[in-house]
Every structure is written in structure tokens, then in C-alpha cells.
Symmetry: C2
Subunit: 129 residues, 2 copies
DNA sequence: TTATATGTATTATTTCAAATAGTACACTTA
DNA sequence: TAAGTGTACTATTTGAAATAATACATATAA
């Protein structure tokens, strides 16, 4: 469900944040659904509970989940809400990347060709769902 | 010439690497041109010479520069060579980013629209050169 | 009520990469 | 010869991340 790459430059708690967001955006976790407890997830991933707590606290700060003392932690964002946020974030990254490609003299049509190919391959892969 | 962001998550020596590559790709530094010495650049940027040495060593490993003991360090890559390498790297990033955008259900046409806008703005900015 | 689970908070310690500090040596050039 | 190069080496410092160990308030099921 959640995979940690210990060799990554990205801190573990950030990987957990990204991972949980992905699960929500992909529909695996739904609004108000309960998340694994801090201690349980820590045991599953074999990492320190404080690291999970740090990830959950940040997710709560972002409104992606909410926590009830004694009860547990729950998804606080709908698929659509979070997807919109993520989309804007990625489009911002795309804008930066496009500017770099432009300054490196990569033709616009070549950029769009890459995009098109990725989308075509994705469509190919999901054709038989 | 070279700017360091001390708040960045990216290590200083990596920022130096990226910075020098940019200077080559933008034509500021030309093939076989001499780079600032390890000690000189360290003084300019007010950082430790060992950090510069680490950046230079990595750049030499990548073939971007070459060093002659007692002489100095020099640009080892042509603008075209390095530009080609950089282009491939960025196109790889674009591929990854497109896949994410696709999985987030962002329409392909919207992606290309962003690309187009960035290119249009760049053209606008360089129209009066 | 009791026991167990939950979130939350706190302090101390460890770990590790990055950066610094200092020195030394071989080479080139003016 | 003197000053400037690259290069190598060891030691130390720094700071974020992660771990370790408790503690406390709350909720829930037995």
C-alpha cells in the first residue's frame, strides 16, 4: 500500500505524505475513511511512530486529513478537491519545465509530441479495463 | 555569475554544478575557456574550497570540464554537446511529469496549452533583441 | 470499571550527508 | 624562486531527519 524508498533524497515523512495523497487521488482512500493508526502504520513500515506522526500532522495542516483524539485519523479531502490541488501544483511544475525546455531550444512541437506519446501509451495501457 | 541559495534543499556543490552547466549551455562559457580556480571561486562565493573541488570533480567525471594540474580547469564540453545532453534529461523529466498529469486526469490539450503559453511568452520576451 | 486502543506532546539521542577547517604535495608559470 | 594551480587527506562541525522512550488525555470495547 505504502512504499518507502530509503535511498531516496526525499525524507521518509514526505514520502508518506505523497503516498497517502496518491491513495486519495486514485480513489483507494475515500473521504472520512479511517487511516491506519500512527502506531500501526509505523509497525507496518518498520519505522518510528514519530515519523508517521510528523507526516500525519503535516497532512492535517494541509486539510488532507483530520484526527480525533482517542478515535483515529480520517481522510478530510474529497478525491475531487485534492485532485484539483494536485493538478494545479503539477501544472506549475510543467510551466517551469517548459520554460527550461524553451531556453534549451527544444522545439515546442517536440515537447507536445512527448506529451502526446505519454498520453497515447496510457490510453493503450487502460484500453482493456 | 554564480548564485547560491543557502535555503535550498539542493546541496551547494550541486547548485554550482547546475550553474556552470547553465553558463556553458547559454554560451557564456565556451569550450576550452578557463574556469575560475578552486580557491578563487571559493573566495568569490564565500564558501569552502573543498565544496568547489567536489563540484569540479563531479563535472570532470561527467566530461563537462577537464583539469590540468598546475594549470587550471577548463570547459570540456561544447555548447551543442551539453545542450543535447540537457535536452534529453529534461525530456525525460517531461515524460514523467506528463504521466503524472495524465493519471490526474488533466486533459492532454490543457497540458499542451500550458506549453504553448510558455513558449509564446518567451517569444514575446525575446522579440526585441 | 478496566484494559486497550487512539492522538498528541515532550525531551534526549543517534545518524548521516554536507560543509568546513587545516594541511600537504605535485605541477606550472612568470 | 615564488606564487598560483589541481589534488588528496584527515578531522571537525552543522543541521535535518530519524529514532528512542515516556507521558497524558480521550475513546471504546470487554
Amino acid at each position: 500500500m505504502i512504499l518507502i524508498d530509503y535511498k531516496s533524497r526525499k525524507p521518509i515523512y514526505e514520502q508518506i505524505i505523497d503516498n497517502i495523497k496518491s491513495l486519495i487521488v486514485s480513489g483507494v482512500l475515500q473521504r472520512d475513511e479511517q487511516l491506519p493508526s500512527v502506531r500501526q502504520l509505523a509497525q507496518e513500515l518498520a519505522i518510528n511512530p514519530n515519523t508517521i506522526q510528523k507526516a500525519y500532522a503535516e497532512l492535517e495542516r494541509q486539510g488532507v486529513l483530520y484526527s480525533l483524539k482517542g478515535r483515529g485519523s480520517f481522510v478530510g479531502s474529497s478525491l475531487q478537491e485534492l485532485r484539483t490541488v494536485q493538478q494545479k501544483e503539477l501544472l506549475g511544475q510543467l510551466s517551469d519545465l517548459s520554460a527550461e525546455l524553451c531556453s534549451l531550444q527544444v522545439p515546442q512541437q517536440e515537447v507536445c509530441a512527448v506529451v502526446q506519446q505519454v498520453y497515447a501509451e496510457a490510453k493503450e495501457g487502460t484500453a482493456h479495463d
